[in-house]
Amino acid sequence: MKLAVYWTGSCGGCDVSFLELGMGLLEVLSRVEIVFWPALVDAKRRDLERLPARSVDVTLVNGVIRTAENKEMVEILREKSKFLGAYGACAHLGGIPALANQVNGVTEIVFGPGFRPGAPLGEAAEDAPPELLPEALSLDEVVPVDFVVPGCPPPAGLIARFFEAAFAEAISPGRIFAGEKALCEECPRTREDRRLTRIVRPHEVQPDPEKCLLDQGIICLGPVTRAGCGAACPKGGMPCTGCLGPTPKAGDPALAMLSALASLVRAGEEGESAFPEENKILDSLVDPIGTLYKYSFAKYGRPLLKLARKRQEVRA
């Protein structure tokens, strides 16, 4: 199987994640021909461009689409590949770097007003570093994506699941290599009192090791996030923050969870007299965007943000 792996705006964790296969990696490496994988083998953009169209069986792209160059590269890869998949939360949903979409003009903030990337002194303009795109995008906003291996980074179990399917040439289009059910399915914590009488932050309490974190007032995105990691974070004493992405029918995971959380606040003891108390609890959910859209802002939050931007322009 001819395999290509490429990173766009990435942290490299996705590339390292393959090593989590342990001995399994050797098995995998023995069965694939790596035609392009900057993190692992010496093959340059030129080598890639030389390849005939659709000559790569499977390409995995990790990272957010952040620069014009990212866009060019994935377009080339799309053309060269039979199957192209989003690998990891950034390519799948935009990931954490896509929270930058909340900020206008990143380079300007970085290097000061008036900064434009340019070529080295006296050299050709083409040698300038690539322009940033106005927004950080998930892979499927730029090229058609055949499948997804989700996670930040993808857990070994899911990577293995993917390679099995790939070797069996059984990658069904649109498949997401993770559970169809929510994380709670595989979470060992026990759920009893399904209502929020308070919202607390992980550093403010040391949660009971047995009980559901949500029941203890800690915002956990498990109920809206796909299973597949074995509930690693809840087992580690920390809430799920949604890196495997929303369950098939959840829609916008942030809004779905927002609805669930608001519904749970003091459920069962409502009444007009309880409104102020309810609001206080809801107000203690700080940074709703960073909390609920942590990985999915590019894919789900962006359309609304676009409207907001337009509004700002109109008003300006």
């Binding site: 927002l258 606040v265 409502e270 007009e272 709703p288 965007i289 337009k310 322009e313 109109v314």
Partner: protein, 139 residues
């Protein structure tokens, strides 16, 4: 350019707000035609995603009509909605969208006049805010 006519989607509880709207009809109260009503069993059925989808799909504002506190036909549905909309409005504000564009109103079956008033006020407010879609609210 003609005056901006805001577009509104109105999710109405069948037991109160929708009945109130009917009463406004039987009482022949005139109010602006900007709101397209969608009847639901209970305001508790309304999902934040519906509201956001409506805004994305071209609405300049979304109205949710539910029963007065204590009068919910299903006892507590309107309380859940109140909290969802409260939190949603905070989220919209953080995104830079005026929370005033999403309105939750208690309208009983007997409040035909109030229904007409609510719609008129909302239309006026949205005209003040201007189009959400920067193009006369069309698209």
């Amino acid at each position: 350019m003609p005056e901006f006519e805001p577009r509104i989607v109105a999710f109405l509880c069948r037991w109160c707000a929708a009945a109130g709207a009917d009463l406004a009809g039987t009482s022949r109260l005139q109010y602006p035609p900007n709101a397209i009503p969608i009847r639901v069993n209970c305001s508790g059925r309304v999902e934040p995603q519906w509201v956001v989808e409506a805004l994305k799909a071209g609405a300049d504002g979304v109205l949710i009509g539910g029963c007065h506190p204590g009068d919910c036909h299903y006892v507590v549905g309107n309380y859940k909605t109140r909290r969802r909309i409260y939190l949603l409005r905070r989220m919209l504000a953080e995104m830079g969208i005026e929370p005033e564009r999403v309105r939750l109103e208690w309208i009983s079956a007997t409040e035909g006049a109030r229904f007409a008033q609510v719609v008129s006020d909302f239309v006026a407010e949205l005209k003040r805010l201007g189009p959400l879609h920067g193009n006369g609210g069309r698209g």
